[in-house]
Subunit: 223 residues, 2 copies
Amino acid sequence: MPIDPDADIEITAFDWVPDFARGFVRDLRPRWACEELDLSYRERLISAVHRPDWYYAEQPFGQVPVVKDGNLHLFESGAILLHLADREGRLLPASGQARADVLGWLFANYNSIEPLAMELGTVLLFHAGEDWAEARKPTLLEEIEKKLRRLADALGSREWIAGEFSIADIALVCTLREFERSEVFAKFPTLVAYTERGSARPAFRRALEAQLAALAEAPPIAA
Amino acid sequence: MPIDPDADIEITAFDWVPDFARGFVRDLRPRWACEELDLSYRERLISAVHRPDWYYAEQPFGQVPVVKDGNLHLFESGAILLHLADREGRLLPASGQARADVLGWLFANYNSIEPLAMELGTVLLFHAGEDWAEARKPTLLEEIEKKLRRLADALGSREWIAGEFSIADIALVCTLREFERSEVFAKFPTLVAYTERGSARPAFRRALEAQLAALAEAPPIAA
């Protein structure tokens, strides 16, 4: 277990989130990477509900995770994954086509796939039941299905998205778990199996347990 | 002018797009980076309307740009910016906090800011006038305003988002231009000035002209 209060690496996470977000908050990604890389980390928990003003100086949008690595201060989970992998020389090849493939898929996750998962969250969770959200759903699900079909074609029969298991898989598996909320996802057994393969890794299980353990059961009392 | 049919670097772009997309297609980003870095590139134009089947083997979602650099094959504009900058050792510091800041902002653009620009495009362009899109607009504009306020606060009185001009500015200025479609953007004079500062750079002007020059006036005839 790499949680260690004396570790050089610090991961900032929330101390409470609503049920639908448990196991899906983005600090899962650096936790998972640390577990894969055998890097210890310490936790710093902040309130998502009463987000401290000073936190915006560390993270411009008040989001988690923020990671400190010694004196280095990092934000955005994609940039953090990149840093941790390059730091250890693992989960991301150092050069050549192999590096280009992992970085291409890392950005594909963050900019070509995850924005659809965010809009799905908007429609299914944050504006659930509103008339406009119901009316948007069919075209959004069509777009998602088209995107996931292309992704399934690209994955084909490969075990991981770009050669060896990499930070692109960490990001992509975390995003694909969000599509499980929609019936469309089950149409792609290739992607279902890939997501299960990723989330069956011991490092993922430990990261998920650590995130869930950090989250209090009851919401904070109004300030 | 770095367009040269014998260049090592090849940028794939579209040969026609509708009016609203002219000057906004993502090949603008590597074109701009090449201009800043004094790198010649050649163009390969493909049809967005009759997108060739073979292209999906090069770009899993059929998007542009794809970039070839000698034998290297790259996709996703964020990954391409990162490659070009590291190749030349410019527009992205090699290490330390300066690199972490640029990478943090690069991913912030692609995952925290641009998804809102994409949803704005969905509402204002692709589903313009539909009832649900009209009904979504007010809450979306509120979210955009909140995000842009945080971004303006983070930029403050700085000239560029993370120290010297970098690939994070290339990505961010290109994204902010998309928010100009909404009346919300004018509420942030800091961001308006930043976007103007970026798009006044000679390298940006040349990249924009090159994209516009590559686009035919008339749409292709149905196959």
